[in-house]
């Protein structure tokens, strides 16, 4: 009886307190993330670092030519995305910001979302914020988009008629088949998933969930996807960035 009560208390604690998906991963997966020499995400970081220094596009400029040394200038940047962009009047993700820079400032060809170089650059920029708390701003112009994201998070979707909240708020810490349902915090993207055997974006992860409940996934560059990411980001505010995280 006592043991059962203790177990129940443990479950409530696991589900209740806000924590990173790192806590829900197995010791082996955590060990993989803890050592940069064994974290496969660093293969992409290495590629991103090369791209940071590479001159591209019609302007023949590299990221470094404008932004300087990434460890200094990109520190903390990833904690604030998705971020409202006043010029286009909507929030954009970090990858979309990189894309914007490439097209407008470098005069380079766009990188497809989820392409290897884009994942590399995002991981390299994301890494510079590792250990800093997520701090996605939701006040001012971002507010309506945050609200829209919150609505999407609570919206029942697909043939299973499930919302994000039903699993990741209400049932987090419990099991779906053999795996623990994480709280769904996006503090380690782009992340290496053992399931994917590769690095992937938050968009890809959301597509996984959407098709999982048999709903139609959001279009790749749709505003809804960014709104949902904005809500998820703000929901994780305070958690340390872990990019590139390793997850099952």
């Amino acid at each position: 009886m006592i043991r059962r009560l203790a177990l129940a208390a443990l479950l409530v604690m696991a589900a209740g307190e806000k924590h990173s998906g790192y806590q829900d991963a197995s010791p082996e997966t955590r060990a993989m993330q803890d050592d940069d020499a064994s974290n496969p995400g660093f293969l992409w970081v290495q590629q991103g670092e090369t791209l940071w220094h590479q001159r591209v596009g019609s302007t023949e400029r590299s990221c470094e030519d404008c932004h300087g040394a990434a460890p200094v200038t990109m520190r903390g940047v990833a904690t604030r995305y998705p971020q409202f962009d006043a010029r286009i009047g909507r929030p954009i993700t970090l990858a979309q910001r990189i894309e914007q820079c490439r097209i407008d400032r470098q005069g380079a060809t766009p990188l497809p979302p989820d392409s290897e170089p884009m994942l590399g650059l995002s991981a390299y920029v994301g890494l510079q914020s590792r250990g800093l708390p997520m701090a996605v701003p939701v006040d001012g112009p971002a507010r309506p988009f945050y609200q829209a994201g919150k609505t999407l998070f609570n919206l029942r979707q697909g043939q299973f008629n499930l919302s994000c909240a039903q699993c990741h708020d209400d049932l987090a810490g419990q099991r779906l088949a053999g795996s623990i349902i994480p709280q769904g915090h996006p503090n380690g993207y782009p992340e290496y998933r053992l399931e994917w055997q590769g690095l992937g974006s938050l968009e890809r992860r959301i597509r996984n969930c959407t098709t999982g409940v048999r709903a139609e996934p959001f279009a790749v560059d749709s505003l809804e996807l960014v709104e949902l990411e904005l809500y998820l980001g703000a929901r994780a505010n305070g958690l340390a960035v872990e990019t590139p995280a390793v997850r099952p």
Partner: protein, 106 residues
């Protein structure tokens, strides 16, 4: 050329074992899977790995299809003098890649 992350300690002590950690970006396609059209995907794995130190072989390994993508290899090496660690691996396409690292003995 595939991407490789090679990690060894900056300084090592004479006669004391140190860890060599190697992460190779490779799909390690098992040959057991089929693509969307039902056609078999040909096997493509790194099948052999050799590590030498100053031309003396310290480790030789055969790799098999049950190894996940982006394999991580870790092993201990003991050396008596400074020198060069050379790692060579071959995949099913016959592509041979060599990585080197210099080791400084204190």
């Amino acid at each position: 050329m595939v991407r490789v992350l090679l990690n060894i300690p900056k300084h090592v002590k004479r006669g004391e074992a140190f860890d060599v950690k190697l992460l190779i970006s490779h799909p390690m396609e098992s040959g057991q899977r089929r693509d969307d059209m039902g056609q078999p995907i040909p096997r493509d794995i790194i099948n052999s790995f050799v590590c030498t130190y100053n031309d003396e072989e310290v480790l030789r390994a055969d790799l098999f299809p049950a190894i996940a993508a982006n394999p991580f290899l870790s092993f201990a090496v003991t050396v008596q003098e400074s020198g060069t660690l050379t790692m060579t691996f071959t995949d099913d396409h016959g592509v041979v890649q060599t990585e080197t690292a210099s080791v400084t003995v204190e």
